[in-house]
């Protein structure tokens, strides 16, 4: 045995040496240049589009980088002409909208944009054979025609005040798509548009590489390339941001806050119209009582949610119209902190008496309900738990339930649900379907079957009237009625949080919508960004 020892030692030594060799061999080929190329900007997001085709829902709110709509929005979300030479005109009856196209706009492949491309794009959306969910938003369009090469005429079924807001949809070249199945066309992977950037490559699950469009009608982008990295996991995205891989990345508020101390980064907390709230269905025997709904609205501590859950990146919410909107009615704003005493008084007056185990009851019915939240959404889970804790303090027992959407769907008529929506562009967009009684019980439109004649009339007026002052009055009435009825327990408006490298210049955040990803994020104007 003793004789073998040296041999054994040699064995171990040779093994170790071999191991070192393997390691050295693996780590040799490195790429030291990293992102030193000053004209390439790298942004990271979690949301990867299915298809880079506006007809199939890519970047419908504009800022689609690859495409332009007839109109686009500036830093204040005001409509400005895009592919249209001036803002389209609306006829006196509100049913005919005419757009004149800008001269000399070229697609990335060098062909000229014509009115036929616009007509093709909108007709494709309206074609039942095309898998576009955008059709629901354009259901007022009766026809789209091109009387000449530079004019597009939309004919509407009924007057629709915010119609121009729907014209941000990117325009696709008809030549490349007509006669094909739009759903499966190769175009969806390698699209051609008129936008500031052309697609160089798209590796699904990894990244999208865009190169500057030298012939962009609004001027060549200030940088040469943009890389959009798709990193689904928040923590991985944060780690890679920390490793210096990205110029900008969207991160959840708490992960973003970790970059606050570091001067090489800048954290942007962008105001949004993106709200979270609890839908309180009329079909639930406890929640059907307005006193319970009002008491809940008094009992929730919105400011604790903003600071404790959102890390300060948000505002208390009291209605579906964001504080940044010109249509907001300040009179509906309540106290940001909880008032448990007032809430308890409301419940007492309505006959909900404290019962065994601290749960109130009326006529033998305990004050309890189930609060559903989508299981994959951490923020909604956290808010649901916060609501549960606040309700417990006033003797209402809430049972949170984390479910998948297909399990939530059939229960929305009778169980509360943590929902989120919101767009800053027009108050009609989401609210008309969410609170209108004609949509009661139809899928995700008004799932709780809220019915109010006042709200119905106000929403209809808001959509029919062209005069901004009349619209404003209509939406003020709508907000007041909602605040009185509390069909939703509005909790918070979010701020979308982004971490950027301090060296990036030209960032101008604007109020964001619920949906944001490759398009319509803080990098909506990335074509003007530079690095110092």
């Amino acid at each position: 045995m003793t004789r073998m020892r040296p041999t054994f030692r040699r064995l171990v030594a040779s093994t170790a040496a071999a191991g070192m060799l393997v390691l050295a061999g693996c780590s040799a080929p490195t790429n030291p240049d990293g992102s030193s190329d000053g004209t390439t900007l790298v942004v990271a997001t979690s949301d990867e589009p299915d298809a880079l085709n506006p007809v199939l829902n890519y970047g419908v709110d504009g800022a689609a980088l690859i495409f332009d709509g007839l109109v686009s929005r500036d830093g204040d979300n005001r409509l400005v002409p895009g592919l249209a030479a001036t803002l389209p005109t609306v006829s006196a009856d509100g049913r005919t909208v005419t757009a004149k196209l800008r001269d000399g706009v070229l697609f990335h492949d060098g062909t000229a944009l014509t009115a036929q491309d616009v007509v093709f794009t909108y007709q494709a959306v309206l074609d039942p054979k095309v898998d576009s969910t955008l059709r629901s938003d354009l259901d007022m369009v009766e026809s789209v025609t091109a009387p000449d090469q530079a004019t597009v005429v939309f004919r509407l079924r009924h007057p629709y005040a915010p119609f121009l807001q729907r014209l941000t949809l990117g325009i696709v070249p008809s030549k490349l798509l007509s006669g094909q199945d739009v759903n499966t066309a190769g175009f969806n992977r390698k699209p051609v548009g008129t936008g500031p950037y052309a697609v160089e490559s798209w590796t699904p699950g990894d990244r999208l590489v865009l190169t500057a469009n030298e012939r962009y009608f609004a001027g060549r982008p200030a940088n040469n390339r943009v890389v959009v990295a798709f990193v689904a996991d928040d923590n991985v995205r944060a780690q890679r941001m920390r490793a210096g891989e990205f110029d900008a990345a969207e991160l959840p508020p708490k992960l973003a806050a970790a970059f606050d101390e570091d001067t090489t980064y800048r954290v942007q907390r962008v105001p949004t119209a993106d709200y979270r709230g609890v839908m309180l269905p009329a079909g639930n025997p406890v929640l059907a009582d307005p006193a319970v709904r009002r008491a809940l609205s008094l009992a929730v501590d919105r400011s604790a949610m903003v600071s404790g859950i959102l890390g300060g990146a948000g505002e208390p919410a009291f209605g579906p119209i964001p504080p940044t909107s010109e249509f907001v009615d300040p009179s509906v704003v309540g106290a940001p902190t909880a008032d448990a005493t007032a809430a308890a008084a409301l419940l007492d007056a309505a006959g909900w008496k404290p019962g065994p185990g601290g749960v109130r009851a009326r006529d033998g019915r305990p004050a309890r309900f189930t609060l559903m939240y989508p299981a994959g959404d951490t923020l909604r889970k956290d808010l649901a738990l916060a609501v549960t804790a606040d309700a417990k303090k006033i003797g209402i027992e809430v049972t949170p339930a984390g479910l998948t959407w297909d399990a939530i769907d059939p229960r929305m008529k009778s169980d509360a649900l943590l929902m989120g929506y919101g767009t800053p562009y027009d108050p009609d967009f989401v609210s008309y379907k969410l609170f209108g009684s004609t949509f009661a019980g139809q899928g995700y439109f008004n799932p709780g079957s809220y019915r109010s004649e006042v709200v119905d009339r106000a929403l209809q007026n808001g959509r029919d009237q062209i005069d901004p002052a009349l619209r404003k009055a209509a939406y003020a009435q709508f907000q007041q009625q909602l605040a009185a009825d509390v069909p939703w327990l509005f909790l918070t408006y979010l701020r979308h949080t982004y971490v950027l490298k301090s060296s990036v210049r030209g960032v101008t955040p604007r109020v964001e919508a619920h949906e944001h990803g490759v398009a319509n994020s803080i990098w909506w104007n990335i074509d003007t960004w530079t690095r110092s």
Partner: protein, 294 residues
């Protein structure tokens, strides 16, 4: 008098049992860890009840202290408290799933092993087929179909882990069938059922028990992996997978303690089971060992 004479001998053996050889210290520690884990998670609801949906937004992410031994998480919940309940859920999932897998595997293996012939060949072909599919993928499909819930997670683990048990039981039975005592029993006129129950079962049961025990750590990892992929238990419930998943972000924000406690609990408990199993594995046939992925 005989009693008195016997006593010193008894004491001697007792003492020698207590004097541990170096290798045994680990085994005893592991045993203690397991006992504490099982008893703790059984008694927790009586001793230290937890409101699963409670949050405390005014004390989020506080570092470990006397009030919160393992700190608090993003929603101000006590990490140590939830880790105990997480372990409870994980052990429950592990034990029930292992039981499901053992029963299923035992039945399939038992049928194949006692009937033999064509039935055996068909059943084993089925087992091979399922074994050829990555069981995490299968588990994902099962959860996706049943929707994430406690039952789905148990089904996902139980329905994917019975194959090795089936194989072990079958090969055990096949090898027993050739043993003289079985022949003798059959020649003696014993019916098939009697042979199975009286003679074969006692030989197979210890192996089954071992397989079940060894499956528990697998089940615990499986549960955490599903939770990590967002397919586990409802996310507000305290489970080790959910806690690690939640705590992942806290690592980056400096609240390292949020995932430390649940991670440490998993490692310590599964390590304890592995250490105990290591005593058994040396006595096992290498093929059986491989089946159990030891």
């Amino acid at each position: 008098m005989a009693d008195l004479a016997a006593r010193p001998a008894l004491l001697r053996t007792a003492r020698s049992r207590l004097r541990l050889r170096p290798g045994q210290a680990g085994v005893v520690t592991a045993g203690l860890v397991l006992v504490v884990a099982v008893v703790g998670s059984l008694l927790a609801p009586l001793v230290w009840p937890l409101d699963q949906s409670a949050v405390a937004l005014d004390q989020t992410r506080s570092a470990p202290s006397w009030a919160h031994l393992a700190g608090t998480d993003d929603l101000g919940r006590d990490v140590a408290h939830r880790a105990v309940y997480g372990l409870r859920v994980s052990l429950l999932v592990g034990a029930v799933a292992a039981l499901v897998a053992t029963v299923l595997g035992g039945v399939v293996g038992g049928i194949a092993g006692t009937l033999g012939g064509r039935v055996d060949r068909i059943l084993m072909r089925v087992v091979d087929t399922i074994a050829a599919m990555p069981h995490l993928l299968l588990g994902i499909f099962i959860v996706a179909m049943l929707r994430p819930s406690l039952g789905a997670v148990i089904a996902s683990v139980g329905l994917t882990h019975w194959l090795s048990t089936a194989r072990i039981v079958r090969s055990e039975l096949l090898s027993l069938r050739t043993r003289p005592f079985v022949d003798a029993a059959i020649n003696g006129g014993a019916g098939r059922r009697r042979v199975l129950v009286r003679h074969l079962l006692p030989h197979v049961l210890p192996r089954l028990a071992l397989a079940t025990t060894l499956m528990i750590p697998h089940a615990v990892w499986h549960e955490t992996a599903l939770s990590f992929l967002g397919l586990g238990l409802p996310p507000h419930l305290a489970s080790l997978g959910n806690m690690i998943n939640d705590g992942q972000g806290s690592l980056l924000t400096g609240a390292w303690w949020a995932s430390l406690a649940p991670g440490a609990v998993i490692v310590v408990v599964t390590l304890a089971i592995a250490v105990l199993a290591a005593r058994w594995r040396d006595r096992l046939d290498p093929r059986v060992r491989a089946e159990l992925h030891l």
